[in-house]
Amino acid sequence: MKHTKRFYLQLIFTVSVCAFLMIPVVLSILAGVTENFFIGISSGFTLRWVVEVWALYHKTIFLSIGIALATLAVTLLIGVPAAYVLARRQNRYTRWIEELMVLPVAVPGLATALALILLYGQFRGFRISWTFILVGHVLFTLPFMVRSVLAVMGAIDLKTLEDAAASLGATFMQRFLHVILPNCRQGILAGALMVVTLSMGEFNITWMLHTPLTMTLPVGLADSYASMRLEIGSAYTIIFFFMIIPLLVAMQWMSEPAKARKPSHG
């Protein structure tokens, strides 16, 4: 296939943009496994930085994973039913509620965190517990779960399916479990991946809310960038990439076949 000059110009441009984005990533990976970054690769490859990071921050990493999973659990429990109501009842109030729910995302995390501290900071037990951070994460990720599930519910003519199940004698719980949830599986899964990824990477809110005992991975990263040597910050970043990449791949994979697999009804 012959390509025009324009094609190559655009290609070079695009590749440069990709390079801009990727080169630091590569550098950080290299730095994380190099004996001494300032000397360069010639100083040799080593895993000691990664090991040191693990020793320093493994509690932080586990806490991050724990909070992400807890956030997922909460958003599933409160978000899926909420999405159902928003899908079934489409009126002025539900639109208001949707708008409202998005506010913690629209407004800078700083403001949300400040607000939480000002109101609840006085409750020492709550303030220093990981649940304080959990609250921030739930507020921030809830709209994503709801929107994801809502999108799927909108595509499947929920009302008629429910009417059909009801006509066959199914109670609400039976309808919810047998018909509604199974047909929202994709939305729930996509929402779940989104929530976990966002929670793992959340910084703006968490930085304000955290205490030395409740640090999450991104908070630890900031800590390591500020106070540790470059190699450790890089090694920690490698661990972060390592955890994030599978999630991103899963999300990518989910969105591709879904386009071809739209549920049809007749």
Binding site: M1, F7, L11, T14, V17, C18, F20, L21, P24, V25, S28, A31, L77, I78, G79, P81, A82, V85, R88, R89, M101, V102, L103, P104, V105, A106, V107, P108, G109, L110, A111, L114, A115, L116, L118, Y120, V135, V138, L139, F140, L142, P143, R147, F172, T197, M200, G201, F203, W207, P218, L221, A222, Y225, A226, L230, F240, I244, I245, L248, Q252
Partner: protein, 267 residues
């Protein structure tokens, strides 16, 4: 009714942990020694005004640059299929999940004191180019996390463009540039506006990147942070963050009115 019961948990949590605290934040914002005037501090006081202006200007410049860069690269990737395309696409969307701190770190690795560019310029010109700890570094950082988001939105919109319109224009004699200017850009306008507004809002509210690069950079989120942490000036921090929140919310409301669904902001 059943529907209310299903909605209640979400509404309760939201009211208890966002609405109520926000109300208190607004109240605290007016409770300091400046009173309600604290909300005007952002325009009346020299320091805060300059902070606001630099934040707005930076966000605007980032938005413009991102749209142009993402527009070119996005259209190119959408319209052409070639070996390595998926790889390029993956590299462009990978940074989507990076928190601001990681982006800051990336900028340091590129143009920091030990950065790659610095080493290259030192080797070429004998002088190290260090940009990371200034507005330029921040600009690069914001660019870094904005490009992936906007590119995806543009590509999605480009997919929905009706190719027949471009063919019609070409059949009437339009040059490639004219086709872009007269058919494609108008066609992409909603997506460009909405992703631009999101980019703007995200940059306005971004904290992690600036924090990593240096706490001395004069953008509003950092100012708010200092007021709160260093000077314990809660009411001023509250007032400023409410103002910031209003601005970002307005920008996003604009985005939503211009296009159906939103890609969310997170930085």
């Amino acid at each position: 009714m059943r529907h209310i019961a299903l909605l209640l948990p979400a509404l309760t949590i939201f009211s208890a942990f966002w609405l109520l605290p926000m109300a208190r934040l607004v109240a605290v914002g007016a409770s300091g020694e400046m009173g309600i005037a604290a909300y005007w501090a952002v325009v009346t006081d020299e320091r805060y005004f300059s902070s606001l202006v630099s934040t707005v200007v930076l966000s605007a410049v980032v938005t413009l640059a991102t749209i142009i860069i993402s527009g070119i690269a996005g259209m190119f990737l959408q319209r052409n299929r070639f070996f390595g395309r998926s790889f390029l696409l993956a590299t462009l969307t990978f940074p989507l999940a990076f928190p601001g701190v990681v982006v800051g770190f990336m900028v340091i690795l590129l143009v920091g004191r030990q950065g790659l560019i610095g080493s290259v310029t030192e080797w070429l010109f004998g002088e190290k180019l260090v940009l990371a700890y200034s507005m330029t570094g921040l600009f690069l950082g914001y660019l870094y996390f904005s490009i992936p988001r906007v590119i995806l939105t543009i590509m999605a919109a480009a997919e929905k463009l009706d190719g027949a319109l471009e063919e019609a224009a070409r059949s009437l004699g339009a040059s490639p540039w004219q086709v872009i200017r007269d058919v494609m850009i108008p066609g992409l306008k909603p997506a460009l506006i909405s992703s631009g507004a999101i980019c703007f809002a995200t940059s306005m509210g971004a904290f992690g990147t600036a924090f990593t690069l240096a706490t001395k950079i004069n953008v509003l989120p950092i100012t708010i942070y200092s007021e709160f942490t260093n000077y314990a000036n809660f009411s001023l921090a509250a007032a400023l963050s409410i103002v910031l929140g209003l601005i970002t919310w307005l920008a996003l409301a604009l985005a939503r009115s211009m296009a159906g669904s939103t890609v969310a902001a997170a930085a």
